[in-house]
């Protein structure tokens, strides 16, 4: 079990261009499930690969368990990695795939069988040991990749979007398995994904990355309810936070907080005239798309989320009073896009 730390890590692929990773510093907690979240191109995979030793940082240091590992090969770092494609050795059986790390590190052959069976048992693939990877389903392959990762009891697990190759239905159960797996094993895990739902469901903490820099590190609750800037605010949450731009501030409020005025308790609220353009019926909730009347936001699409047990009657074409509680408003500086202190209504 170890703590992973990066200090001012930067990776530049092409001279003169913006780096894939820019000056990232972070520290994991022991045993935590840390998620690197960001869109493609945000540098999350590059960062992971640098921690693994597959890429060398242009600047900065990487520490595992307290010692600097920049000059160590992947093999010497005592980490295990699961790739997006799983990278199972196609010519070896499942048993041999899992045993390979043991063989490579000269673990005595007598211990192989016991360790492989332990790892396979942990993931419920004991009956697949004689098969070849091409005979397995996507979910089974993921489990083999995990077994191979865990068999030598590494200090850190690195997972690179392992669920993205699975179909939607499988993804949910695979996610649950991964969470269970982490609970059982407790190794420090770094998990890369672009799916913010995954990040929030699985992560103890989330590192939100954009264009190579860290925008925020926090628990799912923190990054969702207290976003550090507009990028975090709109990346997390689907549908995304509504943003209204004024001359020097941006005001944001989440769709689930933008409700018919009579459903918003308390007097500290801001009210708008809301013209509904169309409604999506999603069963557990309804999503309304519309515009705020009067003022400069007539062309901006504003979204509202009504849960199933709220009254119906909000149809396309109608205009209603919708409000946001003041405590649900988030303010961002217009220039820096970072979080700033609240400003009372009205705003310019």
């Amino acid at each position: 079990m170890a703590v992973v730390e990066t200090r001012n890590v930067t990776k530049v692929f092409k001279e003169g261009e913006l780096g894939a990773v820019n000056n990232v510093s972070l520290v994991t907690h022991e045993g935590e499930f840390l998620v690197f979240l960001g869109p493609s191109g945000s540098g999350k995979t590059t960062l992971l690969r640098m921690i693994a030793g597959l890429e060398t940082p242009t600047a900065g240091e990487i520490l595992i368990g307290g010692r600097v590992v920049n000059n160590l090969t992947p093999r010497e770092r005592r980490i295990a990695m699961v790739f997006q494609s799983y990278a199972l050795y196609p010519h070896l059986s499942v048993y041999k795939n899992i045993a390979f790390p043991l063989k490579a590190q000269n673990v005595p052959k007598a211990q192989h069988r016991q360790k492989v069976e332990w790892a396979a048992g942990l993931l419920g693939i004991g009956r697949l040991l004689d098969r070849k990877p091409r005979e397995l389903s996507g979910g089974e392959r993921q489990r083999v990749a995990l077994a191979r990762a865990i068999v030598r009891e590494p200090a850190v697990f690195l997972l690179d979007e392992p669920l993205s190759n699975l179909d939607a239905k499988l993804r949910a159960s695979a996610r649950e398995e991964l969470e269970q797996f982490h609970k059982n094993v407790g190794t420090t895990t770094i998990y890369v994904t672009h799916d913010q739902v995954e990040a929030m469901a699985m992560g103890d903490r989330v590192v939100v990355l954009h264009q190579g820099t860290v925008r925020q590190i926090g628990t799912p609750k923190e990054v969702y309810e207290d976003p550090a800037d507009t990028f975090v605010a709109t990346f997390l949450g689907s549908p995304p936070m509504n943003l209204l731009e004024f001359s020097d501030i941006i005001v944001g409020f989440r769709p689930e907080g933008f409700l018919p005025s009579d459903l918003v308790p308390g007097s500290k609220q801001v009210t708008f005239r809301y013209r509904i353009k169309y409604v999506e019926y999603l069963g557990a909730e309804r999503v309304l798309y519309g515009n705020i009347e009067g003022g400069s936001f007539e062309s901006k699409e504003i979204i509202s989320r009504l849960s199933w047990n709220m009254p119906s009657g909000y149809e396309a074409g109608a205009v209603h009073d919708f409000s946001v509680a003041e405590s649900d408003l988030r303010f961002f500086d217009r220039k820096t896009e970072k979080r700033t202190h609240p400003k009372p209504y009205p705003w310019q």
Partner: protein, 304 residues
């Protein structure tokens, strides 16, 4: 290319056997005519007494086979064919694997290196061999000159590269390797390029060093393509008569004669078509055996 067809309804990916047959029959017909028929004819000749200008041909049974099997020249040629091929292919496979690994990653000058390395294969066989003939010349060989300068030999006891049986055999093998290593390297590059980048990376993370990754992961995954290289190299070497013909003409004293070159010498130069055909027929069983073996191993090493 207007091909008149019966109106074939194509629904999705349904088979269209008529169109298919129309499209491949020219090729199949051609092959039957230019390969199949002559092959039958070769067998026929082998059992006859045909000569180049003969107007009548008679059936002579196994007479040709009997006489060539008894001739030491034939046995030497058969042995040579096998030895040359086995040694050359072994050398080619090892060298091309090394070379393809060295050429995998881009580096400064790689384009030039690739160009230079390919030259032996793209040059016509006969011409490259002539070059070697001069390089191995008994008096003016540049190799001899270098060795003499390094005081390994004096000018007068220098090795006769093409004049002594053992050295001549080595020279023939050498020229074959020189020709085929570039080709095999290209084939290997195709194979190693097909390995997804993440697999050697996973091996590295799993703790495998360079040699283990090479022998336990990379080469097993390249096995099908290695077999393709082996197959082509074997066929190119075993059935080649050009190198021997130009380099040594089978000499000295028939020590470098191979089956194909012997067949040519007997059949065309010696005008004995029947004996020539009989000799060259011996090429077939070995080739078929090799191909069969390859296909077996290839299907068992199915990787994807």
């Amino acid at each position: 290319m207007a091909v008149k067809l019966a109106k074939v309804k194509s629904v999705g990916s349904a088979q269209s056997p008529l169109l298919g047959a129309a499209m491949f029959s020219p090729a199949v017909l051609y092959i039957l005519l230019i390969i199949g028929a002559p092959f039958v004819l070769a067998v026929f000749y082998a059992f006859s007494d045909a000569r180049i200008a003969s107007t009548e041909i008679h059936y002579v049974g196994l007479e040709n086979f009997r006489s060539i099997l008894q001739s030491p020249g034939f046995r030497q040629a058969l042995q040579n064919s096998i030895v040359f091929t086995v040694v050359a292919v072994a050398i080619v496979v090892i060298c091309s694997t090394m070379l393809s690994l060295a050429l995998e990653e881009p580096f400064w000058g790689r384009g030039l290196v690739r160009f230079l390395i390919l030259l032996p294969f793209v040059a016509p066989v006969s011409l490259g061999t002539i070059g070697w003939k001069w390089i191995l010349d008994s008096i003016y060989s540049v190799i001899t000159w270098v060795l003499v300068q390094m005081h390994f030999f004096t000018p007068f006891n220098a090795p006769m590269w093409l004049g002594e049986p053992r050295l001549a055999m080595g020279s023939v093998i050498c020229v074959h390797c020189w020709r085929l290593i570039p080709f095999a390297t290209v084939v290997m590059l195709a194979g190693s390029g097909a390995i997804p980048r993440e697999i050697p990376e996973a091996a590295s993370i799993d703790g495998a060093g360079f040699w283990r990754t090479l022998f336990q992961i990379k080469i097993p995954m390249m096995l099908p393509i290695i077999l393709v290289a082996v197959l082509f190299s074997t066929v190119f070497t075993f059935t080649d008569m050009t190198v021997v013909f130009i380099l040594t003409a089978g000499g000295p004293f028939d020590s470098t004669q191979t089956l194909p070159s012997l067949a040519f010498a007997t059949g065309i130069q010696g005008s004995d078509l029947a004996a020539g055909a009989a000799i060259s027929l011996f090429l077939v069983p070995v080739l078929v055996a090799v191909a069969f073996f390859m296909l077996r191993v290839a299907s068992r090493a199915e990787v994807t």
